[in-house]
Chain length 272, copies 2
């Protein structure tokens, strides 16, 4: 039997529905085949989607699973009549909320994502530009504007984490490397001294760091396990002495690292 | 009355729950105060969360709204007894799926996100590194490895879109600027000629481009409306002549641009 087919049907990008479906489906020891159907914003497109779903049911010899986030109720009822297990993400939650808040929902299509013309969206794009300009200690200008400055040895995960913080949360995240010269001087890089309260450290297991560095520069001193051990140990001693909070990125995804940092630095969270 | 307080309670990062709550809450013309409670992976933490929720109910004079994605059933029942409207994202969908698939879910905590040690995660990190190294035409090396190469005039949205494609989908997205010299020569930049099938264009409204460029270099020729009009027109003529698909980024969020590109280039989608 082929793996079950899963349709993600949305009036917008379908990113919310896909993220959500992914969490639910990962609870099953089973492969799924994923078909995304974004931008379903008319009855015609809803009917075309139903047709696709029916074809898939015939091909697979079993009815597909459909996750929908269609806000428009007529498109929604069209898709709900598919030959499929339809899991309607919105209806299940919007209705109890209407009761609780004693107000009607706006039933506005495509609201799930930030509109490109909002202030909040512009803030995110600005944060991305900031993080790119302040990647790897490239610039000391406007460091005071940073919400957080990540520090750590080369290849400890600073760059992807900074970009994720910017892209997902609109957080201006700079990052600055700790290098052997800093350890010899026994001091934090000078431009960081006045921003101590914004620093957050990333550390990493020496074995893992050596593997990562060897992919870049095989057989180099930079990548040697002994050198990785030395740099990491020096960096951790320095962060402890300077009172900089840090975590180990070894077994953490960028999502987990970013979430932990946000908790620690207690940035104001946006209200919706 | 203060805005309703919304708790996001998760055993992992809470990113799925937050994305989901955001979509639902954006259906209401109402401000909410958001409190995130990630990493609730023990009964103790579940009880502490219930306490926080109760305090908030007293302070606000109304019960909060709670979105949960707790997979562990004992933690889940603790939180469900809160003085709140509890919207249990998992239970509502996992149970019908168990019936449909005729299998039990694994009830594994923290599965929603990719583990940092999986191949898929490594692919995403590799894609981020690739996109950074190939930002703004910085390098022509390994362009053949790119899944897509975005082209367009300066500040048309190529960089954030490339990074988003890499970070969210593990897509190796390079980007390459189209500059006045290319228009004078009337040809695509030479390194791109052998990768025509990977090109995707971004265009933008001239007025909007001029605004964006003026923030960077106020009063410059680069930012002048007349010059923006010229560059955009030339770029669109070139893309049309070369048979490169393109879209206008003017009113689109990076999520919308990325989703559209994925649809167009028909990359193999990962199965879960």
């Amino acid at each position: 039997m082929p793996p079950p087919t899963v349709f993600i049907v949305s009036d917008g990008t379908g990113i919310t529905a896909e993220t959500f479906a992914h969490s639910i489906l990962s609870q099953f020891d089973q492969k799924f085949r994923l078909v995304r159907v974004p931008f379903v914003d008319s009855a015609d497109k809803a009917f075309a989607t139903v047709e696709k779903i029916s074809e898939s049911a015939v091909l697979d010899g079993r009815r597909p699973i459909v996750f929908t986030t269609l806000v428009d109720s007529s498109s929604n009822s069209i898709v709900k009549n598919s030959n499929a297990l339809v899991l309607d993400i919105f209806q299940q939650f919007v209705e109890p909320l209407e009761l609780e808040l004693d107000m009607k929902s706006t039933h506005a299509v495509g609201r799930g994502h930030q509109n490109a013309d909002t202030e909040e969206y512009k803030k995110r794009i600005e944060a991305i530009n900031f993080s790119l300009a302040h990647d790897d200690g490239q610039s000391n200008r406007n460091l005071a504007e940073a919400d957080v400055i990540l520090i750590g040895v080369s290849r400890s995960g600073k760059t992807p984490t900074s970009l994720y913080l910017a892209m997902q949360y609109g957080v201006k995240a700079a990052n600055y490397p700790l290098i052997p010269e800093d350890f010899e001087r026994g001091k934090l890089p000078t431009p960081l001294l006045q921003h101590r309260d914004k620093l957050f450290g990333l550390s990493i297991d020496a074995q893992r760091l050596s593997e990562i560095r060897n992919e870049r520069r095989p057989g180099s001193k930079y990548a040697a396990l002994e050198n990785c051990r030395y740099e990491i140990n020096e960096a951790e001693v320095m962060m402890r002495r300077e009172g900089v909070k840090w975590l180990s990125s070894t077994h953490k995804s960028i999502e987990e690292i970013a979430t932990t940092i946000l908790q620690e630095i207690k940035l104001d969270r946006p209200a919706y």
